[in-house]
């Protein structure tokens, strides 16, 4: 940051502005010819960093969700976007979500659900393209939320190393 000068400290050429204006014009002129780094969005897309918080997804391990439907994400969600209904399963984990719905119109992508999850079962993905035309489409059930663990490796790594020191 340039040090800001008081008006009385300016010397003559600065005072008559003209030189300073020309300096400013030359700066913008320089930028006129600089290479641009705009991304042509629908054709080009950014590979988001692991720290990016896209839509929350459920981790699918061996074809089943890791989630045990403890409801902590639902409780911590400041926007009340998550609804979980637990049920009993014969698996070792005893409990699983028979219904897991995230209302993407309510979700604010704060990542609290991910932070509170004791099973690393819900993580923020890199998916940011969320468009709906009807209210009901915005409620994502297990069919849309489940993502294989292989696709979420870097986020899980990030959660483990960065968020839970």
């Amino acid at each position: 940051m340039a040090v800001k000068k008081r008006k009385k400290d300016l010397h003559f050429f600065e005072r008559i502005y003209l030189v300073e204006i020309i300096k400013g014009l030359l700066l913008t002129l320089k930028h006129l010819f600089k290479p641009k780094f705009t991304l042509q969005y629908p054709e080009e897309k950014i590979e988001q960093a692991p720290s990016y918080r896209g839509r929350p997804v459920l981790v699918m391990d061996n074809g089943k969700e890791r989630c045990v439907a403890c409801g902590l994400c639902s409780r911590v969600c400041p926007a009340l976007a998550i609804q979980v209904q637990a049920s009993e399963t014969e698996d070792e984990k005893e409990r699983y979500p028979v219904l897991f719905e995230i209302n993407m119109l309510r979700c604010i992508f704060c990542g609290f659900c991910e932070e509170v999850c004791p099973e690393e079962a819900i993580v923020m993905s890199k998916d940011y393209e969320l468009v709906f035309t009807r209210y009901d489409d915005a409620i994502f059930g297990k069919d849309k939320l489940l993502v294989p663990v292989e696709k979420l490796k870097d986020r899980l790594e990030f959660v483990r190393t960065q968020m839970r020191k």
Binding site: L29, H31, L32, T38
Partner: protein, 339 residues
Amino acid sequence: MVVLIPLAKIAIAISILLFIVTYLVYFERKISAWIQDRIGPNRVGPYGLLQSPADVLKLFFKEDIVPSAATKFVHSLAPVISLTVAMSTYAVIPFGPDIEIFGQKVRLIVADVDVGILFILAFASIGVYGLTLSGWASNNKYSLLGGLRSSAQMISYELSMGISVVGVLILAGSLRIYDIINSQQGWMWNAFIQPIGFITFVVAAFAETNRLPFDLPEAEPELVGGYHTEYSSLKFAMFFLAEYANMIIASCLITTLYLGGWHLPFIDSATLSYGLMPLISVMIFVAKVLFLLFFFIWVRWSIPRFRYDQLMNLGWKVMLPLSLLNLMWVALLVYFFKI
């Protein structure tokens, strides 16, 4: 013929004007994008060239909203004044020397008025009615403040503008624009002879056209668009058009008054065929105007807006003395060197 040629001239002039305005908007957006390290419109048509026509089309189909508390007649009248005035001023600006088409001697000007400069100054002053009336008729505090600011700004800067022009008139000895241009042949550009006048005029021109360091009447962050807050659809388009038309006129005026019109050193003395000469002259004129338009845009995206007190300080305490100084300088030049 007496009627047809002026009509043809008007038709050509206006269509060229509208075309240029359309693409001026496009270039303004492109240049602003480049200055900000962006790409700018590139989706509508190749390189985004159809962006402006698309915008115009969009404006056509927009709903025309008139505030219920507005003075309806004046509200509709104001943009018409703005645009008419801007277009009329265009009439007395020549684009090149006389040419001959089919044996007819045609002047590249719509109306060669003896008092061309006065005409321009007079019409420029009328232009402020458009803004002030729109501000008043909208019945909106932002619009009113915008209108108020524009009239105050116009009065403050018209003064120094007028006095700067007097310097040019003294040297040319005529109010006709042809004479002014012809007095600047070779290196005798007024920009070089009276640089202070040139600078004050350019600054005043920026202020008169409400372009960026002086766009206080619009001032989006403070006034939400100023005088045209309550305008939409075609009426808004008219203001928009008028602003860009004014910009073109200002560029033409600077070219004619200070940059030697279609004259360029060395070109005049060169031996060129009679048919080619007017064409080159017109191209020179257009090139100068285009550069000035670029300069307008360039400045807009480089220099931030003045504060209102700074604007007034500059107008009355700097511009006015400077233009008077320039007048004295020209008077002394004439007195001692009898130019």
